[in-house]
């Protein structure tokens, strides 16, 4: 694992993750989507895996950097960190805030990965009891939770899910019927996921930049130089609030493990809990350390948590995990209850890489904090044009096929249009990924039972999943209100 052939791409991936995550407008999802085609070209599969895992953790942290300096979250998962982090930057405490953030992210990541290592194998044994009927409801649950917690409301979230599921029917189904390919051989295996994601998250962002207001990005940070002594207090401060960090990391892991939730929901959830339980609750949003500790611990912890249902059930927790899961499958790491038997060595390697990444994150993140000033100097327009070119190459590199670039282009237009109508993209991606699982489970289950729907509603695990579905619809507005309330209270 520490061989240069593995270590160099690993660190390169983390540097790339820092750059993309720290650039406002470029997201962690985009970072992972762009790095996946590159990772396939490496000689060692473990190097490719390390690259992907490194990017996914680093990009989530580095989104906190512009959130702190500019009040512009680099990724959606960093939105909660904006509130207190930026206030601290305005008071000349940016480096202190970011060092605190970095340590919390590393701690959160370690907690999430440890939870993954402990829980996933146990859950896999339980998952052996799952059959088509349970997988059907699990997929539906994942989609509905994703829709229920989306910030623009359940209605729009469900529309996104339905569009994604409809697009997932393109191609050849399990029975060999060809659907919606227009005679194009390139669509026989369905829509390629990576070009679609690059389009949805990369090209649509470029389109939004070109169409929207071109605001000059200027730092609102105080011009006063930060004292090294204050920045050095990050570790003692973290120790003082260690239970907040730990609690937030655990909460982040649990929320991240919910299929359909993600690091952004985890961050807001942890922020809200920390605010309500802190004696400084009223000062949240005005530059309180706990306001930085809670969301930054939770969002990195959620990454590890999201892999629990992803590896064991094949149900990703969010869009980033969805891409990572797709990448794992190309490496023949097929998710499911038997993943530990079939790909035990590779899974153990993934766990080790994920754990070591948290320590490498300290170095990569440190460099990112120092280098962010250089990134700010790059003209935004040039960055967007470069993103377009990287997106084209990334989409092409999957299969050396120009058709994939057209797919990327089409999804870019689709993503731009849908977001202009406030339709969230994460549920759409999950619909695209989980649609085939849901359809196959439904059809296979019905075939086994001669067309009867009864087992879908009478088996105990199915009933439990249906109840959690109802719970998700009931809790979704509360979670949205929670996050929105935490935001309003802090203004």
């Amino acid at each position: 694992m520490l061989h240069p052939g593995v270590l160099l791409p690993w660190i390169a991936g983390m540097v790339f993750g820092v750059f993309v995550g720290a650039t406002p407008g470029l997201t962690a999802t985009m970072a992972v989507a762009l790095i996946v085609p590159v990772s396939y070209r490496l000689d060692e599969p473990i190097a490719g895996l390390a690259m992907i895992i490194g990017v996914s953790f680093t990009a989530i942290f580095s989104g906190d950097i512009p959130a702190t300096h500019l009040r512009i979250p680099g990724t959606p998962a960093s939105a909660a960190a904006t509130l207190d982090g930026h206030e601290m930057a305005r008071n000349g405490r940016a480096e202190f805030a970011l060092r605190l953030d970095l340590f919390c992210s590393a701690i959160g990541g370690v907690v999430g990965v440890l939870a993954l290592m402990l829980v996933a194998p146990q859950l896999a044994k339980f998952a052996l009891k799952f059959s088509d009927f349970e997988y059907f409801w699990l997929g539906i649950c994942g989609l509905c939770i994703s829709a229920a917690v989306s910030q623009t409301g359940i209605r729009r979230g469900m529309i996104a899910v339905e569009v994604g599921m409809l697009l997932s029917t393109v191609g050849t189904d399990a029975q060999g019927a060809v659907r919606f390919t227009f005679g194009n051989m390139d669509l026989y295996n369905g829509i390629e996921l990576i070009p679609a994601m690059i389009g949805l998250f990369g090209i649509s962002e470029v389109m939004r930049y070109v169409a929207g207001n071109r605001q000059t990005i200027e730092s609102e940070s105080s011009g006063r130089a930060k004292k090294r002594r204050e920045a050095d207090k990050a570790l003692p401060t973290l120790w003082r609030h260690k239970w907040t960090a730990l609690k937030s990391a655990l909460l982040g892991t649990v929320i991240g493990a919910l299929p359909g939730a993600g690091a952004d929901v985890a961050a807001w959830g942890a922020y809200g809990v920390a605010q309500k339980s802190s004696k400084n609750g009223r000062r949240f949003g005005k530059g309180v350390e706990e306001g930085v500790i809670a969301p930054t611990s939770a969002n990195n912890a959620a990454v590890g948590g999201a892999w629990i249902p992803a590896l064991v059930f094949g149900v990703p927790g969010d869009a980033v995990t969805a891409i990572v899961l797709g990448a794992f499958m190309v490496y023949e790491i097929v998710p499911g209850p038997q993943i530990f038997e079939r790909s035990g060595e590779q899974v153990r390697a993934i766990f080790q890489i994920a754990l070591v990444t948290q320590f490498l994150l300290l170095g990569a993140g440190w460099a990112g904090i120092k280098l962010f000033g250089q990134i700010l100097k790059l003209p935004r327009g040039a960055v967007m044009v470069a993103v377009t070119v990287f997106s084209v190459v990334g989409a092409y590199a999957m299969r050396d096929n120009v058709f994939d670039i057209w797919v990327m282009f089409a999804f870019g237009v689709l993503g731009f249009f849908l977001e202009s109508k406030r339709i969230p993209l994460a549920p759409l991606i999950l619909g695209l990924i989980l649609g085939p699982l849901i359809e196959e489970s439904l059809r296979d289950g019905l075939t086994k039972e001669g067309g009867s729907l009864a087992p879908f509603f009478t088996r105990p695990i199915c009933l439990a999943l249906i109840l959690s579905l109802v719970g998700a619809f009931a809790a979704g507005p509360a979670i949205r209100k929670w996050g929105g309330g935490a935001q309003r209270d802090s203004r």
């Binding site: 060809v178 389109m207 040039a382 070119v389 590199a397 282009f409 086994k448």
Partner: protein
């Protein structure tokens, strides 16, 4: 203003409603042509069922959006569903971007990656605020970086350009 917010909501509903209805209609029409191979298994709803069901849900959602738009329109007594304003600079830039990206992808085949990227990037970087010298310099740097990284290190065969190859062969044969 409340009216303005509702007007904005009605704008969103109309465009979204039309999109959903069109998407659902296309899916329903195309589903009729889906052919099932072999004999259907007992209990299997068939290959058309899932897309048809989803199209039905989208149709309902689209009609719901249209109803919301009509309701808001009647309440506000205002026109909703404005088409994009082509006089708006952002809309024109967006259309230009879409056309130029389409041309860029189209030209990757005949001209190859390097030439097509130069033709796309230089004007756009200049249009987005860079000096023309900076645009050329950055674009050349970007192309070199990608060629070295993807073609050199990762062995990705970037499009070479059929026109360029034809010229090469012609020159060799001379």
């Amino acid at each position: 203003m409340r009216g303005a917010e509702e007007n904005t909501n009605s704008d969103s509903s109309l465009g979204l409603g039309v999109f959903l209805i069109v998407l659902a209609s296309v899916a329903l029409v195309l589903s009729r042509g889906v052919k099932v191979l072999g004999f259907a298994q007992e209990g299997d709803p068939g290959s058309k069922a899932f897309p048809v069901a989803l199209a039905g849900l989208l149709m309902i959602a689209g009609l719901g959006e249209m109803v919301r738009w009509v309701t808001a329109w009647r309440r506000n007594d205002a026109r909703g569903g404005k088409l994009p304003d082509l006089k708006h600079a952002g809309t024109r830039r967006l259309l230009a971007l879409l056309l130029s990206m389409g041309a860029y992808v189209f030209l990757l085949g005949p001209l190859g990656f390097a030439s097509a990227t130069l033709l796309f990037c230089v004007p756009w970087m200049w249009a987005l605020g860079l000096h023309w010298r900076g645009s050329i310099g950055l674009t050349v740097g970007l192309v070199v970086l990608i060629e070295v990284l993807f073609a050199g290190v990762f062995q990705v065969r970037l499009p070479e350009g059929t026109t360029v190859l034809a010229i090469d062969r012609f020159m060799i044969n001379l």
